[in-house]
Amino acid sequence: MVTFGSGRPVPSRVAATGPRFTFYAALAIVLMFLDQRGNWLEYARYGLSAAAYPVQLAVNSPSAAWRWVRGNFATRERLTAENTALREANKALELRALRTESLEAENAQLRELTAAMPDVAERWIVAEVLAIELTTLRQRVVVNKGAADGVFKGQSVLARGGLIGQVMRAGPWSAEIILISDPEHAVPVQVLRSGLRTIAVGQGNTGVMTLPYLPVNSDIKVDDVLVTSGLGGVFPAGYPVARVIDVGRDPGQPLALVHAEPLAAIDRDREVMLVWFRADHPAAPAAPSTVVPAPPEASP
């Protein structure tokens, strides 16, 4: 390296100059600011996620190929066994559907409605989870359906067993889903048995959620099922979320320590359902404006 007394390298060899760094750093900060404040970068993000899709497909291809091979070379016995299991499951579902119908009719009578309400779910599409890891310590997945299929931000995502999350960002052909077990996610829930309403928060672990806002004396016990309460304006009411696995009551503490286990197989299911709900159904997610408590009456 040639130096001329000043101790600085010859300028032509320097790729990283202060002004250039300042430029890129300022650019990054402006981007962050725009992304954080207002949604001015929605279009840029939309385009970028389209550009990312080929890489996501490439990453997904080995596992997709493996499943294709396994599916094609499935043995006869396995297929028969699977068929039998599915037939059993179907029978059980049919029985439950029969009961649901009679319950719905009864409910309609009780509410003095002329006809039973249709199901709150209007339509749904099945999306496949791409084998992409977003962030290790957060719980997010990417699915292969996007805005081109009508997917929108805040849409509820269900899987076998119950709720698994909501759409966080919809790209053109893919969507990012935040799971209910993400530490940044919280679901408004209701205890099915007692009607107690609270919030279930993720912990960054697929197997456990916490209910941090329950007083020590609240009516909750192990094996209680939590369903969505319909408050908060995102999820409709009545979808199963989790089962309480552990209730810790310390008389010295104001709040109980409650853990619940998500009912949906979050880390095992490769197929999820993106659901559209009827906006005029009683169980549809309450719009935030209707959740706000009525203003106190003016005192005389």
């Binding site: 390296m1 390298p9 060899r13 790729a15 990283a16 250039r20 760094f21 890129y24 750093a25 650019l27 990054a28 900060i29 402006v30 981007l31 962050m32 725009l34 992304d35 954080q36 970068l41 840029a44 993000r45 970028l48 996620s49 550009a51 990312a52 890489v55 996501q56 490439a58 990453v59 596992s63 084998a131 992409i132 890891e133 977003l134 962030t135 290790t136 310590l137 957060r138 997010r140 966080m168 960002r169 990012e176 530490p183 940044e184 960054g204």
Partner: protein
């Protein structure tokens, strides 16, 4: 202009793409926590060996790609990666002359700084994640540095 043409741009871009794939390919939980940040390592390598091949645009673009893939605030990883690459480029002649072991220590420090910047921005933007496990990847990154260096130095003519 001739000197510019000899910069190993092809291997640089290809290695970045492969590193990005390594960084998002799903692994079992215990392994994925310890997974080194491959793309950051690749950017550090090219910043040390051939800073003029990509300049600061290369770290910035790689950071932006990470932002898109991880669903972070746009610019978060870009800023962290640009900062780390800038510091490394400033001292690249010094670092290049060091034995691999010392380089690994420097890389560990750079990765820690990178994760620190990301952690700060996470906090400021309201995505706090205070798990001690997030500080694990600089260690594995430092440990794997000799391998990364060995593999990448075979992709272009020595300088």
């Amino acid at each position: 202009m001739n000197a510019r043409a000899r910069e190993p741009r092809g291997p640089m871009l290809l290695s970045a793409l492969i590193a990005l794939i390594f960084q998002v390919v799903p692994l079992p939980d215990w392994l994925s926590i310890a997974r080194p940040a491959f793309l950051v390592l690749v950017v550090l390598y090219w910043s040390i060996v051939s800073p003029r091949a990509g300049g600061l645009l290369f770290p910035f673009a790689c950071g932006l790609a990470l932002d898109v893939f991880r669903g972070a605030v746009l610019g978060e990883h870009a800023l962290a990666l640009t900062l780390v690459a800038f510091l490394v480029m400033r001292f690249h002649l010094l670092i290049r002359a060091k034995p691999l072991f010392e380089q690994a220590l420097i890389v560990f420090a750079a990765l820690t700084l990178y994760e620190f910047v990301v952690w700060c921005i996470d906090g400021w933007t309201g995505h706090t994640l205070n798990s001690a496990l997030r500080w694990l990847h600089p260690v594995t990154g430092g440990l794997i540095w000799p391998v990364v260096f060995g593999v990448l130095s075979r992709t272009h003519r020595p300088r």
